[in-house]
């Protein structure tokens, strides 16, 4: 995506992040994001044709745990972090799809 730094729909990205931006903010952020992308695009100048793509810096794999049950956390403690609770449920604004 770094190839085309000029085409950038800031409204769409803001929508995906559930951010409400004013037109002035959109303009400002759009310019900033373009700068950031141009900066990251510098990486394209490197020749990485001989490097295996990876998502990690450490050569680890298969970090497993045994299928064993560990104690969960006390519900009262957990629900202290709920914005609101009813019948031991986390209460959130009504979800409709």
């Amino acid at each position: 995506m770094a190839e085309d730094t000029n085409k950038f729909d800031v409204s769409y990205v803001a929508y995906l992040a559930r951010m409400h931006l004013t037109d002035a903010e959109k303009e400002k952020i759009s310019a900033q994001l373009k700068d950031i992308l141009a900066y990251v695009a510098k990486l394209n100048e490197l020749d990485v044709s001989h490097v295996e793509p990876t998502a990690h810096a450490t050569p680890l794999s298969n970090v497993f745990r045994k299928d064993e049950v560990q104690p969960s956390i006390d519900r009262e403690k957990i629900l202290k972090n709920a914005p609101e609770q009813v019948r031991d449920l986390f209460i959130v604004p009504k979800i409709v799809e």
């Binding site: 998502a55 045994k66 104690p71 209460i91």
Partner: protein, 476 residues
Amino acid sequence: MQYEAVIGLEVHVQLKTKSKMFCGCATEFGADPNTHVCPVCLGYPGVLPVMNEEAVRKTILTGLMIGSEVARFSKWDRKNYFYPDMPKNYQISQYDLPLCAKGLVEIKLNGGATKKIGITRAHLEEDVAKSFHFETTSGVDFNRAGTPLMEIVSEPDLRSPDEAFAYLTALREILISGGISDCDMEKGQLRCDSNVSMRPVGQKAFGEKVEIKNMNTISGVRRALAYEIQRQTAALQKGEKVSQETRRWDDATGRTSVMRTKEYAHDYRYFPEPDLMPVVVSEEMIAEIRKLLPELPEAKRQRFVKQYGLPEYDAGVLIASGTLAAFYERAAQGSRNPKAISNWVTTELLGKLAEAKKTIDECPVKPEQLSELVSLIESGQISGKIGKEVFAEMFAGGKAASLVVKEKGLVQVSDTGSLDGFVEEAIAKNPKSVADFRAGNKAAINFLKGQVMKLSKGKANPQLVGEILLRKLEGG
């Protein structure tokens, strides 16, 4: 114009593990809300998920059962979206390197022909929380969040609701036979979404695709597809266009309605999960898992038909669960009448289990005890009717059949001396039936036979009773 349906299914299966995918919380169903949760499955910042090895192995075993190519290198990705059922705002899933690619599930069509349905992929992810909707708010229970969930995607090879039904049935049998999942749809252990489009018969290109969600039973899937095919066909025949959208199935009204259209389609912005290292599957690991391969359902069904002389239907009922099939095989072992054993298992035993809301694992009657009961009936020591009474007693108290028969004095009366008395009493008490019989109404003897059985409290040998009655009626 004639149209044909093109259907693909996405099946989500909760794996049968004790603990969650990335933390040690229990996966047990039906616990009090928010009691099986921890910082990992609640998505607290700074926590580290760790893979449940058993879930990875079960996914690989599934791949082996459906003839997939098991990936030698597989990785995790974040699927980003905002929804309260997923507190991290992303779901850990697999995007471009799933554990299993390709595969086949063979289905049986009406009339006995078979068809191979292609599998696109099977990958592992984490289940989301369960939400409840109230008047003005929603409530979330995170017990389910983080349960290992396998997604199996089929190729668009299905052409009718019946084929979709057969595919789900076959897939479910395979998953149960491998101990991958219990596939209890009522508990949400197997869930299904469907893609369906219509195209003129003979056309290669696919039509506009509609996704259907919220089908909670296998027959619900069949009904939803039948409705959707009819809806889309009617639209096309009127010259209208089918729009690409997601629709929700309502089982109560038997209709689908729009959930979201293409403009609101999700953009999940997948990217590699930095917190989880990749899975490297070695030849040794596959060889080890291969040893766990069970006898596949279709092979088992055929073997039951052949080995025990059962009708296909009976065999199908018995193999629907691995433990039930094992119970049957133990009971049928050494029995002279495996078909009778099957009848008892599929009717009385399953009936009593359902009544008592018990599973076959909790059955108080042991296979050997059922086998003994059937041989008591076979040898004529008790009648089939008394057999049911004995079975109820065995089920209630876990006692052996012979013990119940002895304790209750239920042994079938087969000596003519004692039976004579009952027969004479029945004849004396029912002069009308006797007269009817002698007047030529031969069926009247059945009533008299019934009376004798009643007098003997069901213990008389019915065949002998018939003979004695006939002799006395015709002789007198």
